[in-house]
């Protein structure tokens, strides 16, 4: 430090001066302290002596406390004003710990009176009451039946501190239907409690936890009112004085059509799948399906541990929101977007034919087409219609991964779709910069080849695919998928178009997927009363290098996923759809076609 060397002896006068200075400062500090303590003392004298009568009467005579009135939560409707989330009056038990004389006795007495109370939940609640604050009332997370309520009311004198109160409880009449979009409310936990504004959540013990219920919490919640209550010295309510009413939360309307939603859910019958249906013009989501689902009503009172474990351990993973969190390789569904990028950037003429012998050889590696014997000579239209891999392998080498990245980005791949839900996954739209940033490695050309058919690093969510196909249906007008009906976007961006003919050519090829004799989905488009454009796809779950894909010998959970994206009618699109069926327990294309058929024939006119 060198401090020792710098240290020099002080002169006599310095020592004297320093001593005097420090002593003076100490005296000053002492004086300062005395003055401020005197100030406090005077203040206390003012409150306790001069103000005694005033404060004494406020404290002693009667006690007026302010209690919060819980606001009524806004309801949620579907696009046709069908109720999706409602509030129902129910009876619950309120526990005021400070007035309960013997906790253990009260609880066992209660168990005897109401034998149907779930034992495990009651004992867990007892623990909560034991450690909980003396002064914050707690509600038993159990809804009493009317008979139980009547029985308790008759015996309430045995339960000081436990009162029967009517509360509004959130209910979801359609149960698991659209649960991943609507979400649910649940008990506010300790961590959330510390982050909430105390005065906004006074008197409320639930909040939106997931889905729209969480995203639009501030609209749905409303703000609490005040009730002044006069109590006697033991805390019993004598009378209610003036009150400020609570401001109820606002109702919201979703873009979802619950009939279409239920049609799809019934169709899928609990298979692992995700379907998104949008109105491509507005981006409004007509159906938001992630199956299997679960009943959100279980979560409102707090779900029991065993039930929750069951849901968590379910191999079909019902809690996963596949629409925004399922990240799948998009497979061949991205081929139309790659083809469009190539012809818009003059990489290749749409009429140029490429010969496909069934594989592409690149750097001693053989990239196989799904059709072993090859497609022969194919142009762009054939390549999309028949989903020829080799054509796109060749194309990708001409384009390079960064052009693919830059052209697909505006369609919504690799970033947030801006849907009005939290925790959306963004998938991966690979590029050289991405690989350097995330993996710290340089890009290999071989990786471009498989990226062009939506494999390799490429990942997208069903929602991203729905957004991309909607933009294709719009001929480049960018929409933001959303669930709130009011959220119509005035200003929409447009992907710059070099030549609109190019777009129409790609869309024509997608139409041929369903309507031409060689299309990959020709079986399902044959007798349609309208024209539909689409693209099939397969997402590899299990990567098989050079080997064969033998469906019989692969475990069911490792089988490829089946994908389909599409829109209809081709000329004036009214519906866009993306379908992913995990492990191909169904083929995605007929699912999409049937949904579209149902929507256009049964529902479309009303929407």
């Amino acid at each position: 430090m060198g401090m020792k060397n710098k240290h020099r002896y002080q002169t006599e006068s310095e020592i004297f001066f320093q001593k005097r200075l420090f002593r003076n400062r100490i005296y000053f500090a002492l004086g300062f302290t005395l003055i401020f303590f005197l100030l406090l003392w005077v203040r206390m004298g003012y409150l306790q002596w001069v103000g005694y009568k005033h404060y004494h009467s406020m404290s002693e005579g009667n006690r007026i406390s302010v209690e919060a009135i819980t606001p009524v939560r806004g309801r949620i409707f579907d696009r046709n004003h069908i109720l999706l989330a409602d509030n129902q009056p129910v009876f619950v038990l309120k526990f005021s710990k400070d007035k309960i004389e013997n906790l253990q006795d009260s609880f066992s007495l209660l168990q005897n009176l109401l034998p149907d109370l779930p034992k495990e939940r009651l004992s867990r609640f007892l623990e909560r009451v034991k450690v909980g604050s003396k002064y914050r009332p707690l509600y038993l997370p159990y809804t009493l039946t009317e008979i139980e309520a009547a029985r308790f009311a008759g015996h309430s004198y045995q339960f000081p501190g436990i009162t029967l109160v009517a509360k509004l409880k959130r209910t979801y009449p359609f149960k698991e239907s659209a649960v991943h979009a609507i979400g649910y409310v649940g008990k506010i936990n300790q961590k959330e409690f510390t982050q909430l504004s105390e005065s906004k959540y006074a008197g409320t013990d639930v909040m939106g936890k997931l889905g729209v219920e969480k995203y639009y919490e501030s609209i749905l919640h409303g703000s609490p009112g005040l009730q002044q209550i006069e109590t006697n010295a033991r805390g019993r309510v004598i009378q209610k004085l003036e009150s400020v009413p609570a401001k109820p939360g606002k109702d919201i309307q979703l873009t979802i059509d619950i009939r279409l939603q239920q049609y799809i859910e019934k169709y899928l019958d609990g298979k692992k799948a995700a379907v998104v249906v949008t109105n491509p013009k507005t981006g409004g989501i007509l159906a938001y399906v992630s199956t299997p689902g679960y009943d959100p009503n279980l979560f409102v009172d707090g779900i029991s541990q065993t039930k929750y474990q069951e849901l968590l351990k379910d191999h079909n993973r019902p809690l996963i929101n596949r629409v925004i969190n399922g990240q799948y390789p998009p497979g061949s569904t991205i081929k139309p977007f790659v083809a469009l990028a190539a012809i818009e950037n003059n990489i290749i003429s749409p009429y140029k034919k490429i010969f496909d012998p069934g594989f592409l050889e690149f750097k001693d590696h053989r990239y196989r087409d799904w059709k072993r014997q090859g497609h022969g000579l194919v142009d762009m239209n054939d390549a999309i219609e028949q989903s020829c891999d080799t054509y796109f392998y060749e194309l990708s080498l001409k384009m390079g991964v960064d052009l693919i990245h830059d052209s697909l980005y505006p369609f919504g791949f690799g970033h947030h779709t801006k849907i009005d839900l939290y925790n959306e996954s963004v998938g991966i739209l690979p590029s050289k910069a991405w690989k350097r940033r995330v993996k710290g490695q340089t890009w290999y050309k071989g990786e471009t080849i498989i990226a062009a058919i939506g494999q390799g690093y490429f990942l997208s969510t069903p929602l991203q695919l729905a957004k991309a196909i909607s933009i294709m249906a719009n001929r480049g007008e960018i929409i933001e998928p959303h669930l709130l009906k009011d959220k119509e976007y005035v200003k929409k961006e447009q992907i710059p178009i070099q030549n609109i003919e190019n777009w129409e050519k790609v869309i024509k090829a997608m139409m041929d997927v369903l309507h031409s004799p060689r299309g990959t989905a020709r079986r399902y488009g044959r007798d349609l009363p309208f024209k539909m454009a689409g693209k099939t796809g397969t997402a590899q779950v299990f990567s098989l290098n050079e080997g064969e894909y033998d469906e019989e010998n692969i475990k069911k959970s490792l089988r490829d996923h089946s994908l389909f994206i599409g829109f209809a009618p081709v000329k004036k699109p009214k519906i866009a759809i993306s379908v992913i069926i995990e492990n191909s327990t169904l083929k995605a294309a007929p699912v999409a076609v049937d949904i579209t058929k149902y929507y256009l024939s049964e529902l479309q006119d009303e929407n």
Binding site: M3, W41, R63
Partner: protein, 376 residues
Amino acid sequence: MKIDLPAREKVYRKNSGILVSLHLDGWLMLGIFLLIITGSLIVFSASGADQEVLSRHLIRVGFAFILMLVFAQIPPNLLRIYTPWVFGIGTIMLISVLLFGDIGKGAKRWLDLGFFRFQPSEIMKLALPMMIAWLFAHDSLPPPNKKMLIGLGLVGLIAGLIIIQPDLGTSILIAMSGLFVLFFAGLSWRWILSAVGLVAASLPIVWNFYMYDYQKQRVLTFLDPESDPLGTGYHIIQSKIAIGSGGLEGKGFMGSTQAHLEFLPESTTDFIFSVLAEEFGLIGVTGLLLLYLFVIGRGLYIASQAQENFARLTAASLVMTLFVYVFVNIGMVSGLLPVVGLPLPLLSYGGSSLVTLMVSFGILMSIHTHKKLLTS
């Protein structure tokens, strides 16, 4: 016999043997004990005679007391040598809190080290004043202006780091502990007065550009408690009722209806003074103020008796920081000052601030009991 050895420590004959060998100061201990006993009684009453709360409080007091004992054993010279290190580590922690801190109530204040969480600003309550005292350790007071400016810069740096957490209250309190050192080191009155003037003049600017809404709200509620009857304004109203209804003699031990009927918030922590005032009245309040005055007076005496700059500046600043905490807390609960979440030293239900406080008492005791014999 140690006669031949150069005598290092003054033998402290005035006090009894056990206190000397433990490096404790009898008078200070007496004050601390009385305050802690008072605090424990009020905590017990305010919690509604909850023995669990009381025993948890006592465990924390015990832990803090042991830390005080430990620090009392460390000679001031050793403390001085380690000060820059502790200060440096504390500063790094403050920065890392901003980078990876946990967010509680919208502010980044906590650092999670896996096994436990703490607020690095707690360290700074001691480290900042000690660092500035270290700076002046070998100067003749008042130190040269250049060093004063360095000290001022350190205060600004640390206060700035805490202000952006954001934690305005703590940042002001820590800045004050640093400024006290400058004051005791002999900062000229001209500087002090112009600084006070400057702060007063800049208040409108701070209000308009640098304060968060919730902070403004607190000040506004302070000026007009009725404007927020469900939030902090309600707390102040109820706290004043508690204090005022205590009258001269109070309602007696365990007689605080304001606390027991849930009108008083945080009755075992920030608002514990109101419970004491309600139960023991103006007499009790006077006694408590005298007790604090006694501890502060003894602390200032210890500072005045210290032989080196580091020791005397540290001691004086820690004592005055204690004063500020007492004043701000009592001022807050009686409606003189806006609500800042601040416990009452030695009385409130134990938390990390109790630990810091007892450590600073340990340092005071060490300063008083590790003295060199004056040979001249």
